[in-house]
């Protein structure tokens, strides 16, 4: 059984079709979502997390149709995400950012320090969140998402702003999360990360699903090379 099914999702902005009849499935493991800029990746994340209503199509989580549910209801069903354009709570400290997320799910605020250590930004705990480096802010969004104990984690370009060593540590963290039985969807431009850690990759181009497959199948696919990998 798939964790997440996206069925025939279409998103229109006036005349422009940002996502056109996309269907895909996500299982436990790491699923890559790649494609050139403007392919509709982030829009699809917005649809899955409930921030945007699709013009057509359904979103199904663990056999439950969640298309009509609001973002906070989806969060309670186990969907969490990070943002490509950062959405940390800039007026709060890094620690408070995680505590807000824990409290919203009625979990103990004592877990916050552990979560910050897990993603590797404990040193910033008492800094105001809009003052930390971009890489740390991305990891903060990850810690905040993990604070809701999600079964489906949507990560939007998490590695931008991380150096090589940090990216490797992040990859290992991905493996751990999958080991805990979570499904992770990764929108990423770092192909080493995508090819090294994903079990399944979906390729979007101009709002349409170009192809799906394992990393090696994607690498071999003609259309993908033309559209994206070059």
């Amino acid at each position: 059984m798939s964790t997440l099914l996206v069925e025939g999702v279409t998103v229109r902005f006036g005349e422009v079709i940002a996502v056109n009849d996309v269907s895909l499935s996500v299982d436990v493991g790491v699923t890559g979502l790649i494609g050139p800029n403007g392919a509709g990746k982030t829009t699809l994340f917005d649809v899955i997390s409930g921030l945007r209503r699709p013009s057509a199509g359904r979103v199904v989580l663990d056999d439950l149709d969640i298309t009509a549910r609001g973002p906070h209801q989806r969060s309670r069903l186990g969907v969490a995400r990070t943002f490509q354009r950062l959405e940390v709570f800039g007026s709060l400290t890094v620690w408070e950012n995680v505590v807000v997320a824990l409290e919203s799910r009625r979990r103990s605020s004592r877990l916050a320090t552990g979560l910050l250590e897990r993603v590797g930004i404990a040193e910033f705990a008492s800094n105001q969140a809009d003052t930390v480096p971009t890489g740390a802010a991305r990891l903060l969004e990850l810690a905040r998402a993990l604070a809701t104990d999600p079964c489906l984690l949507l990560l939007d370009e998490p590695s931008s702003g991380l150096d090589r060593a940090e990216t490797d540590a992040f990859g290992e963290l991905l493996r751990e999360l999958v080991g805990e039985g979570r499904s992770v969807v990764l929108v990423e431009h770092d192909m080493d990360l995508v090819m090294g850690y994903c079990d399944q990759v979906h390729v979007l181009n101009l709002g349409q699903l170009l192809t799906s497959g394992t990393p090696s199948e994607i690498r071999a696919h003609e259309g993908v090379r033309e559209a994206y990998l070059g």
């Binding site: 921030l51 945007r52 973002p71 906070h72 969490a80 943002f83 959405e87 409290e103 905040r144 809701t148």
Partner: protein
């Protein structure tokens, strides 16, 4: 049938004048993204100036009109753009709103100093001319108004759609940096739109003077009608703005003609623009959760529980000493300052922490005051009941206005304040139109009043700080910084907003009860819409993010009328300075008190 025709013509004429004003508002908003709350005040001052030239100095009407609309108003628009609004481009909505309120209050101050209150009749244009259509008479002034409206509509349309400047103006809204790269000069375009916008405000104001009297507040608030029309066009579309303005003119005209003339319906008529503002806002599509960018603001450091206790203790000591030393008049005034301080505490919660700008906070004070006054006996119990009723009203308005946020929410609170004033506070169940209510005092002597007010202020202040340190405070700030992230973390953003609104309204309602029993006589005019504007202004000037800011703001609010009665001219100057200060300080929501804090920490360092 002839009556219908007459009222239709009258409605179209008034609507035409509204359209001129609203067109200017849309033009400035769509090119500078600053919503000018002071738009109506510009029209007001320019109408006074026109009176000065045409009636007082005896210039020909056309020359006066030309000087005011063609020279003075555009120059004034340029000045405002250059020295106030340009610095605010891209600033959060609360800040631009406060700058506009500063301009508004400053302009009213100017008008009061230069033109002290007296009757100022203004001759209509072309009063010897006129046309009979059937049995109804269309005066020359009406014709001039209609012609002006048509010319303005056509002119704006041509400017925006048929000229390079107009194209550049429209490009600047979407991406000023990009437009600059292609050789346009966003500042120059923005300046131009402010010049034209001010000229239109002046023209509309002058055209309306024979209909409404030349009065500071009435003319300034006439702009509510212009807001409503502009909102019909979603602040972007000029054609829809004109349709909205004409529609409003017609609705008002028909209301005069066909609604019964009992007291309630007279109040209802006055409330029509606000009611329509509300309806239009509620019909707007739901604002999507904003995504993108880190938003953070640095508040003044939040004291710990121990520090709060020590601070409250010190405060209590100072107040007790004051209560022993000062005479009863000063004690009464200090008590009033602290009551205002409590109102400002409600804004610390709502605006300072929650980031919601309310232009209707004084209305909740009125609800608390009415409740206590109607109960007829003052006790701790009735004060709490007043707070509870205000909280219920606050929750109601939050639920109704949940769909909108930012600027639209602020305008909704403005509409709400006007509605409550006309339909509830002035109704027989509350104060009555010109009525007032007697309220027995909780404690008799002025020094005891001071102690009571100080006690409540300390309690509420400590409570507000406790909220800030706790779970609800973190959530409020999180919602302010990123409501989208909050939603994806499982928070029901709407309910948090309802909580914040009703908690803040409860504090304001509590202050209202205290206010009523301190004053002993309260009337609807104590809580009218206009009182909300100085409130927001002082909140921001003194500091809307801290308890000490609320105390300072309360003191300033209390001093303003004292100054006004003692030295009217000086008070006018003070109001102008306040307006300028707000516009300047608007960038720093922590206000004056944060300067003291900074000076203090610098000394210690």
């Amino acid at each position: 049938m002839t009556a219908l025709l007459a009222y239709t013509i009258f409605g179209l004429v008034t609507g035409g004048a509204y359209a001129v004003v609203a067109g200017g508002l849309v033009l400035t908003y769509s090119t500078s993204k600053v919503f000018n709350v002071g738009h109506g005040a510009i029209g007001m001052v320019m109408a006074f100036l026109y009176w000065e030239l045409a009636e007082n100095r005896g210039l020909p009407q056309w020359l006066a009109l030309l000087i005011v609309v063609g020279v003075c108003a555009p120059l004034f628009g340029l000045l405002i753009e250059r020295f106030v609004m340009r610095r605010l481009a891209g600033a959060p909505i609360g800040i631009t709103l406060v700058a506009g309120v500063g301009v508004l209050v400053g302009l009213i101050g100017v008008a009061q100093v230069i033109w002290p209150p007296q009757a100022r009749p203004v001759r209509p244009f072309l009063d010897q001319l006129g046309v009979h259509i059937g049995q109804s008479f269309v005066s020359g002034h009406d014709l001039v108004t209609l012609v002006c409206a048509v010319l303005v509509a056509a002119g704006l349309y041509l400017l925006l759609n048929r000229t390079r400047t107009g194209l550049a103006m429209r490009a600047c809204v979407d991406a000023p940096e990009l437009a600059a790269l292609y050789g346009t000069r966003p500042h120059r375009l923005s300046a131009m739109s402010w010049a034209i916008g001010s000229a239109l405000a002046a023209l509309g104001g002058i055209l309306l003077t024979p209909v409404v009297q030349l009065d500071y507040v009435t003319m300034t608030l006439l702009v509510i009608t212009a807001y409503t029309a502009a909102l019909v066009g979603r602040l972007r579309s000029l054609p829809w703005t004109f349709v909205g303005a004409l529609g409003l003119g017609l609705v008002q005209s028909y209301a005069v003609a066909y609604l019964p003339s009992s007291q309630f319906w007279i109040s209802f008529r006055a409330a029509i623009p606000a009611l329509l503002l509300f309806v239009v806002l509620l019909a707007m599509p739901q604002s999507p959760l904003r995504i993108g960018g880190v938003r953070g603001s640095r508040g003044v450091a939040v004291p710990t529980g121990v520090a709060t206790g020590v601070g409250a203790g010190l405060f209590a000591g100072v107040v007790v000493v004051l209560a022993l030393l000062v005479d009863s008049v000063v004690a009464g005034q200090l008590a009033l300052a602290l009551v205002f301080g409590i109102v400002l505490l409600s804004m610390v919660l709502l605006t300072g922490y929650g980031g919601v700008v309310s232009l209707g906070q004084f209305t909740f004070v009125g609800v608390g005051a009415v409740t206590v006054a109607r109960l007829g006996s003052t006790s701790v119990f009735s004060l709490l009941l007043g707070a509870l009723v205000a909280a219920a009203v606050g929750a109601l308005i939050a639920l109704i206005a949940l769909r909108v946020s930012g600027l639209y929410l602020a305008l909704a609170t403005l509409g709400f304040a006007q509605l409550m004033d006309k339909l509830v506070l002035q109704s027989p169940i509350a104060f009555g139109v010109r009525g007032s209510l007697q309220v027995p005092r909780l404690v008799e002597s002025a020094s005891a009043q001071l102690l009571v007010a100080a006690g409540v202020f300390a309690l509420v202040g400590a409570g507000v700080l406790a909220v800030r340190r706790g779970r609800l405070g973190r959530r409020m700030i999180a919602v302010k910084d990123s409501s989208a992230a909050c939603a994806t973390l499982g928070m029901n953003v709407r309910w948090i907003r309802v909580w914040v609104f009703s908690l803040s309204a409860a504090i304001a309602g509590l202050a209202g009860g205290l206010f009523a029993q301190l004053r002993e006589t309260v009337a609807a005019s104590d809580f009218q819409l206009f009182n909300n504007l100085p409130l927001l202004l002082f909140a921001v000037i003194a500091g809307v993010t801290s308890v000490s800011g609320a105390a300072l703001g309360g003191l300033l609010l209390m001093l303003l009328p004292v100054l006004q009665s003692g030295f009217p001219a000086l008070a006018g100057v003070a109001v102008v300075l306040l307006g300028v200060a707000a516009a300047g300080l608007a960038r720093d929501p922590n206000g004056l008190v944060s300067w003291f804090f900074r000076a203090w920490s610098w000394r210690r360092a």
